[in-house]
Point group: C2
Chain length 332, copies 2
């Protein structure tokens, strides 16, 4: 472990890219303005300024810089990616009827569902304008496909989330829609705008995809074994919200008839009683599904690191390597 | 009036473009499919197959054909435009909490708000993929800007609709967002894909813009003076829903203090009593605002017709001319 590991990898990235991130933040603020509809920047600012790590735009900047880019278009693409992310959060909160996001009340609670839907649409259209300004059809193609994967994944989650027939393949697609599609598009467009060769562009896609999947699997696992203080979630929130995530899917696939009835009642029908979460955890323990899920997350993190081998030797490459370790390190 | 006027202009267009409209409908059906999320085509089909005149995609086909296009990309653009339209309808229904659309229950009532939001997002992303396939950055630029105008107009409507300070300039912007931006983008991209010159492309934009505005003003006027059977709306729906449309805006701008209190109570505060609609109609009559609104609608229809002069002499040009007359003919 080298000395710089005292800083977390995303903090190292943030430090390395700080000038460009400042420019991205300025661009975001400029482009979320609306002369006539002040509600738009109000709602957006509520989310954008709540912070978050800005991981997605940072990935775009990192990929472009690592591949030797010295233009300005990567700033627009980074803002694009953050706008798409913010728009999906706004729409998710309507869909999930959430009351909290990043420790603050959600926009749909502070304003209303209308504002969340319409401001989300506005940010999508602003992101679309930004990417058109780069003049790259390849970038537009990548982001159009990512948008479709995101939207399809969201619908899939809504219809499959409480259906015990949902297997690991569907789970993976939902995860790609929810998280990995925007991660992989973020890294890929960074390479494309830098003029990286096909093998490197593919490697950047693979890195973002695997990183996003590792990140989401880790998140789903922490819901069952995390420390509430560190994660900001209570153990078993997904179970109470009847979400079929990987640890449960693995347990369902091996369930006895009686256990299947238990999952049917608690997840499909949502009739939960005291002690059900404890019993669910026992069943996951019985089949070792939390350990197996952890292994999967590590497997994806390794795929992410492997993908980096064809990319230029650049300090950022090591940070991306460490980032893949970091997203699963909290599982150990 | 020539003999073919027995057919309405949009029916003439539909007959002239029927092969291409069939191809567009096939494309729409193919592209709304989703292998894993059957909810998507269910919801979309509910709207798409409810019919409607398919005016927007027809405008794209008409513009391209009039400008001599003989490729295939106009089909993709027509489908793009219809997808964007359908997506905005889905989101509008959530925003308006509507129960009916085109005489059928809305998707958010049949399924839920979630489905309407997410399937709308899916259709936006599909439309985005379709336009990228045309490989025209100019087309992408036009549709990105139209999307932003639409989204901004929707937010503006939400925040300005019940504010008596809303003047005719803001009304026009809302109308552009609600209707005219997609009309003008539909005609403009048809010209661009056909390689029309700049003056013709501008004329196509102007035609669509003015046609859309005429159409929406007519709609808002018919709400106060229409025949419920012909329009499918009850007289005064907009008043009851406290919408500041042009006839009211014109009356508010000339109101005495006492009249202003009336508008404040009924529109801003929404405290309506028996007889209020009748009094509102009296005030509109007193200042002749229904007649003035009708004049405005005719003025926009004339602008639309004037714009056509630089376009190629083609049978479709006459149909577009007649269409502009038709949207305001019902006002006489």
């Amino acid at each position: 472990m080298n000395q710089s590991m005292a800083q977390k990898p995303h903090e190292q990235l943030a430090a390395t890219l700080s000038d460009e991130m400042d420019a991205v933040n300025t661009l975001i603020r400029t482009r979320m303005a609306s002369k006539h509809a002040p509600r738009i920047p109000e709602v957006t600012a509520h989310l954008v300024e709540a912070g978050g790590k800005r991981l997605r735009p940072m990935l775009t900047l990192a990929a472009a810089k690592m591949c030797g880019y010295d233009g300005e278009h990567h700033l627009k693409l980074a803002a694009t990616v953050e706008f798409i992310h913010t728009a999906t959060l706004l729409h998710d909160d309507v869909v999930d009827e959430s009351g909290q996001r990043r420790g603050r009340p959600t926009a749909n609670l502070l304003w209303d569902n209308k504002s969340s839907v319409l401001v989300g649409d506005y940010l999508f259209s602003r992101s679309f304008q930004l990417m058109v300004e780069t003049g790259s059809l390849q970038v537009l193609d990548i982001l159009a496909n990512a948008s479709a994967t995101i939207a399809e994944g969201e619908v899939l989650q809504m219809t499959a989330a409480q259906d015990l027939k949902t297997g690991e393949d569907i789970y993976l697609q939902v995860v790609r829609g929810k998280t990995a599609a925007l991660f992989s598009a973020a890294t890929e467009v960074g390479g494309v705008i830098a003029g990286a060769d096909d093998a490197q562009v593919k490697a950047l896609f693979d890195y973002g995809d695997a990183l996003g999947i590792a990140f989401q699997i880790a998140d789903d696992l922490l819901d069952y074994q995390g420390d509430a203080k560190a994660t900001g979630k209570n153990v078993g929130d997904d179970f109470r919200e009847r979400k079929l995530t990987l640890p449960v899917i693995k347990a369902v696939s091996q369930a006895t008839d009686e256990e299947r009835e238990f999952w049917k009642r608690t997840i499909e029908k949502g009739r939960q009683e005291d002690g059900d979460l404890e019993h669910a955890l026992e069943l996951m323990d019985k089949y070792g599904t939390l350990a197996a899920t952890r292994d999967d997350a590590h497997g994806w993190a390794n795929k992410a690191k492997d993908a980096l081998s064809v990319l230029p030797k650049h300090p950022i490459r090591q940070m991306l390597h460490d980032l893949a370790d970091y997203v699963v390190a909290r599982l150990n």
